[in-house]
């Protein structure tokens, strides 16, 4: 849900140079980010009610990345909300960077979270037949010294999850660029169309590459598709989105593809 305003932040960080463009982009996101956070709160509450054990296990297991995400959300909100309140350019620059950088990192972190699910998380390390923790509890460090997903206890950040994170960043940047083109008439719109085309190519390449390394990390990852062929509909949607991106200039549903990635 937050997809396009993360994307708008990324576009804002890299492509908006003129003051008017910056203002228009922050305004296009500023009106909507709040409602997206409401969905986030509602989703959290529902998750808590429906699956308390899952909520407890995942939220404490991903403790550090989740808290960092919360910090980033706060920084992004500060950037968006305070920008219009100060008249000096110096402060505006700070809020702009705060908005752009935290949007970029948030997109990266959400991709990394997906990457963790795809890679698999070691639930409760068992030592000598005895679970070190109680049942379903686990705790992931941010990273381990090798940054490798192939070790027994990988951290949250390793080279595989970073690749997935980059895919999320690129996807959301495309999404945000489409959002900006759709919602504003800023002077960089024509330039953004070219950027979207280039990003599409990068995205296609990254997707292929990630499929390759996915097989390396998790060799039986495609079994689900054999057992439950109807699940193939998700990669199909993804492919449709990816191909569609090359043809459709004003697609705004591109975020669908992100949700297809983990299956």
């Amino acid at each position: 849900m937050d997809g396009y305003d993360f994307g708008a932040g990324i576009i804002h960080l890299f492509f908006a140079k003129k003051e008017e463009d910056k203002e228009v982009i922050t305004k296009s996101a500023g009106l909507f980010w709040d409602s997206n956070e409401v969905w986030l709160v509602a989703a959290g509450g529902m998750l808590f009610m429906a699956f308390p054990t899952f909520y407890a296990s995942v939220f404490s297991g991903f403790y550090l990345p989740l808290i960092i995400v919360l910090w980033l959300i706060i920084f992004r909100a500060i950037g968006l909300e305070f920008r219009g309140q100060f008249k000096y350019q110096m402060w505006k620059d700070i809020w702009d960077k705060s908005f752009g950088i935290s949007s970029l990192l948030l997109a990266l972190f959400f991709g990394i979270a997906l990457g963790n699910i795809v890679r698999g998380v070691n639930l409760g390390s068992v030592e000598n037949g005895v679970s070190a923790y109680e049942g379903h509890y686990f705790f992931l460090p941010l990273w381990n010294s090798s940054f490798s997903p192939l070790t027994e206890h990988p951290g949250v950040i390793d080279w595989f999850t970073i690749i997935i994170g980059l895919i999320a960043v690129v996807t959301l940047a495309i999404h945000g660029a489409n959002w900006v083109i759709l919602k504003t008439n800023s002077s960089i719109n024509t330039k953004l169309k070219g950027v979207i085309f280039k990003l599409n190519i990068v995205l296609a390449a990254l997707t292929l590459f990630s499929l390759y390394v996915w097989q390396m990390v998790n060799a039986n990852s495609l079994d689900n598709f054999i057992h439950k062929p109807y699940l193939l509909v998700f990669p199909l949607i993804y492919l449709t989105g990816l191909v569609g991106l090359f043809f459709i200039k004003k697609s705004k549903k591109t975020v669908m593809r992100l949700y297809c990635q983990p299956y």
């Binding site: 709160v41 403790y63 910090w71 500060i78």
Partner: protein, 379 residues
Amino acid sequence: MGVVTGIPMEFQFGTNWAKFSELTGGIIGQTLAMEGMFSFFLESSFLALFIFGEKLMGQKLHFLTGFLVFLGSWASGWFILATNAWMQHPVGYEILDNGKFVLENFSALFTNPWLLPAFLHNQMASVVTSAFVMASIGAFYILRNKHSEYGKLFLKTGVVFGLISSVLVAFPTGDWNAKNVAKYQPGTFAAMEGIFETEEAGAEIVLIGQPNMVAKKLDNKIAVPNILSFLTYQEWDKQIPGMDQFEDDELPDNIPALYYSYHIMVGLGTIFIGVMALALFLLWRKKLYNIKPLLWTIMFLVPFPYIANITGWYTAELGRQPYLVYGLLRTSDGISPTVSSGNTLFTLLGFVALYMLLGLLFLVLVGKTINEGPTPKTH
């Protein structure tokens, strides 16, 4: 700002209190999800309409959106306090063999005897805060002799509502809450009132005194005999159990902090009633706008309702210790089993720093807005 500081509070249930969430999720998950679904959506959708829609909707519809924002946020308070009331005084639950709490009686959550007094007390305290902020801004405008017409309006509204709400906070809602504590959490009651020893007949009410945890007595005590028994049970000679009647591990672990929080809250509440009563009297005699010392007092009182609110919550939460769910689940059994204290300290320090930054920005912006005054901006 409310939204982004609210998300961490919700996430904390999972991140820092995983065991508690797992065990009681069947119950407090209900009230929290209802809060998110009903009140939060109501409040935030209509807040946007309230802020941006005045010109489009006309005065009546605009008032309606304001009313719905009020309804949403008070319903929020209701659901949150239903959650807290269940932790203070658990009702309608059943404990399964694996230690999980399940809801046996849904309506019991909302007919909890703890809920209504706590809700009204909390909401009245919020009215006190806003009335004091309003009165303070009014006093500031009058003292500075700028926007003083608005200042008089603000001050008048603030003083009238300030007096009504500060009286209501103390009586009947505060009184009702104290009786609940005495009834359901007698150990907590003894600790917050500073009663170390049980007296034969009639407990005294402590006005001032410092708890001495080594000698188990109050230093420099000033107390009025028998009043506490009367206030709590309307009987002068009723015996109230002191802390000597309870095991140490049943009493709150930080008794001085609880005692001070409670006494600061009550003391400030009394001062609020006094100042506002005096101000209302002078307003009635049409002298208030000229008495500078009182205007200065009202202006500088503005942080204190916030302090009273926070110490009030400290009283409720420290008083519930050493339990998360009173009498049933200890705080030490509710934490996340896999999150180390070093990690918690790291995130706590981060949040402290961030919230200080937010607080600073809040003060700068609010100060700027107040300074500019209520004249409509022309673009």
